[in-house]
């Protein structure tokens, strides 16, 4: 079921779904609906209670319309709403509003659906909305963020661009440099055939290598290397003093399992 928050607007619903008005979003009513919704379309974000959403509520793919909003409104939405959007979500906005909202947020262009909530635009988003995929990105981004916060890097290098899908959720103080070496190198998805030696070459002396890897071969899924194999392979390719400083598994939702982890390695030659 898609939830469409029309709020104070009289606009016709942009797609099939349960239409909610300004008085239909008391948190006690809204949150249980969000827990099972396939997608959330917010046509009047200024009056939507984003601040009531708990972290896991953001697993639902969200489309936010910024049509008709000024710079002040967009700035006010930043903390509670826009800061939380990730790939898997979408924004409808005029070009100027998109530029304003996306500045410093590392949103990919694919998140911008253009300047109209015409039925086709919203329906295309809803057709591709995938709650599990969004939850997966969000869960990985949360762990990656936590590991990076421990290192508190001012600059980092995104090896292979693979961390870009998590960037909107990563600390905004990080300056992502275009070329290595960097104090912190982030590999957003360590492929089974990746060469960790190339990653280590990008790490400046005394720096850290942060690797997200899928470490469980789920039934029917692609072949993965186990966590200890990843650790051994990366350490074997690193300099003599390299060590594993931390490993944090990613809790999957839905379900109790853990199939991915973020590894933080230190060069150990400061």
């Amino acid at each position: 079921m898609t939830l469409i928050y029309r709020g104070r607007l009289d606009a016709a619903p942009a797609a099939q779904g349960e239409v909610l008005g300004e008085w239909d979003v008391l948190p006690a009513d809204l949150l249980p609906r969000l827990a099972t919704a396939d997608a959330l379309v917010v046509l009047d974000p200024v009056s939507f209670p984003f601040e009531s959403l708990r972290p896991a509520d953001w697993d639902v793919p969200v489309l936010v319309s910024l049509l008709g909003l000024g710079a002040d409104d967009i700035a006010a939405l930043g903390d509670d709403a826009l800061r939380r959007l990730l790939p898997g979500d979408a924004v409808v906005a005029e070009a100027a509003a998109w530029d304003l909202a996306s500045a410093d947020r590392a949103w990919p262009d694919a998140m911008w659906l253009g300047p109209a909530t015409a039925s086709g635009v919203v329906e295309r988003f809803l057709a591709g909305a995938d709650r599990d995929a969004k939850a997966s990105i969000r869960a990985r981004a949360v762990v990656l963020r936590r590991q990076l916060q421990q290192l508190h890097p001012w600059t980092a290098f995104d090896a292979g661009g693979s961390a870009s899908r998590f960037r909107p959720a990563l600390p905004s103080y990080i300056d992502w440099v275009g070329t290595p070496p960097a104090a912190v190198v982030v590999a957003g998805d360590l492929a089974p055939d990746a060469d960790p030696a190339a990653l280590w070459e990008a790490v400046a002396p005394g720096g850290a290598l942060v690797v997200l890897a899928e470490v469980v071969t789920v039934p029917g899924g692609p072949e993965r290397a186990a966590a200890t194999e990843v650790r051994d392979r990366v350490l074997a390719a690193g300099p003599a003093g390299a060590l594993l400083a931390d490993v944090e598994s990613v809790p999957e939702r839905p379900g109790p399992h853990r199939t991915a982890a973020v590894f933080t390695f230190l060069r150990g030659d400061a």
């Binding site: 993965r224 109790p256 399992h257 199939t259």
Partner: protein, 92 residues
Amino acid sequence: MPDRDEELRALRMENDLLSLEIEALRERMRRGGHDAEHADGVMVDGDRLRRLEEARRDLKWLLQRLGSGPLGTIMRRRTGYRRLAERHLSEE
């Protein structure tokens, strides 16, 4: 329906991950001297360790359930299950 061997393999890999994570946390605590703060100032999250221990207990419970009753007779014939049981049910 997923093959039981594939499920066991996934369970084994998940256990490998949790064990490594717990090992890393214990190592950080050991180096820090106590469970609140690492020597280099990085906080160790005691709640995280607790959650991991809970997850590991759940996985052990699953192994015990798989190994009991009529199904257990079949499971114990599987090398993968025996390896997991030896590793995680006989260590304490």
